[in-house]
Symmetry: C2
Subunit: 212 residues, 2 copies
DNA sequence: TTTTGATTTAAACAAATGATTAAATCAATT
DNA sequence: AATTGATTTAATCATTTGTTTAAATCAAAA
């Protein structure tokens, strides 16, 4: 009677005719990411998934539950990118910046609504603390402090540097709807613009790091 | 019986004991800007304003009406800043960038939730198109194109330049809650950081504008 | 004092919405 | 064929929420 979705993935011993559970999560991801928690109704999710309201609650118990799954998923992707890059002791500072920017733009080009979703949904709290920690406690930050001491780059507040890298990369996606609306950019033109920025942002950051 | 709030401000011939209308708008501004449209209930607004639900609807007819007023107010402030600076034919390119950054940070330090509010509430449409137009059709843009032709600054996509200026300035406010949560920055430390950025962002932009 | 308009009170409405239930159906397994 | 578990159907609940109403109160103007 009482299903806990984590176990389901493993336990699911019988049919699950057409993977109803997956269809629900897919629909929830699409709608939540696009419209946010409040604007999405459980009935919308059921409809989008092509199943019915009862089954949604049968699997996931509640809307909040389902939302939590999507939120973890999204935050997880953000984390993966950072974790994989930021503590690699083999790569240079420049290479790390390049990789951070490229990886984020790559992911976000496919999931352009993700950043605004993560930022604007208050129900996170636990997850988001980690992101800051990951960044500021990383080998990447050590490299920066070393470079500053060695006089290779200008003194800069680590938080400000983080804001610059993340801001230049992610802000366009956050503000995307504002720029695209009405007479604005097409989806393709926007992606092109971001591909261009993928090359430029690391250069811009380097130039900024030389400013006294 | 049927009040239209625009006229009210002029018509209001009698008492309005303690300015109930203003108290409602103030409460609405605070709550909407802080939590967004869906999360705020008309009952919350009435409570915050210290008046009752009936009066709210007596004055403003509907929640949407009230929201529209706040949205216009907020967008208006954004516009004022841009309009006042961007078409001034007396000031240099550098001065304009400096003023844009300084003015935005000044306003947003007092209204830190404004950007996320504007960006994340879909119900704008009409308003936001103007922002883009204001920017791209401005004397500011002409100056940039001239400077590019003259070889004084590197070639850059105008949209990208706009994203850089606005992004570096506004993104910290958009992402503010993510950075401040838990063990993060205090309100004061955040404002200090932004004061520092007020000086640095124009320098950073200049440095970026020299990158080939 | 009467009148008038601002404000309150309390109640109610209708619609939307998250959640639950019980019985039916359907498809694969035994 | 009988069983079992997944899924559907349809109905219902309880709550929240935007909005409205009607009658009362209150304070100033006439």
């Amino acid at each position: 009677m009482c299903h806990i979705s984590n176990e389901m993935a493993l336990v699911k011993n019988k049919k699950t005719k057409d993977g109803a559970e997956k269809k629900i999560v897919d629909a929830a991801r699409k709608l939540f990411t696009e419209k946010g928690y409040d604007a999405v109704k459980t009935r919308d999710i059921a409809k989008e998934a092509g199943i019915n309201l009862a089954l949604l609650n049968y699997y996931f118990r509640s809307k909040e539950n389902l939302f939590e799954i999507i939120m973890k998923e999204n935050m997880g992707r953000f984390m993966e990118v950072i974790t994989g890059i930021v503590n690699n002791e083999e790569t240079s500072l420049e290479k790390k910046i390049e990789m951070l920017v490229a990886n984020y733009i790559e992911i976000l080009s496919v999931n352009p609504d993700m950043p605004l979703f993560v930022i604007s949904n208050a129900k996170i709290d636990d997850h988001r603390m980690k992101l800051r920690e990951k960044f500021l406690g990383s080998y990447f930050m050590k490299q920066i402090q070393q470079a500053m001491k060695a006089g290779k780059i200008a003194d800069i507040n680590p938080a400000s540097l983080m804001l610059n890298i993340v801001g230049l990369t992610i802000f366009p996606f956050v503000a995307r709807r504002m720029f695209q609306s009405s007479n604005g950019l097409t989806h393709e033109a926007f992606n092109e613009l971001m591909q261009e920025r993928k090359k430029m942002i690391p250069k811009w950051i380097e130039a900024m790091l030389k400013v006294k």
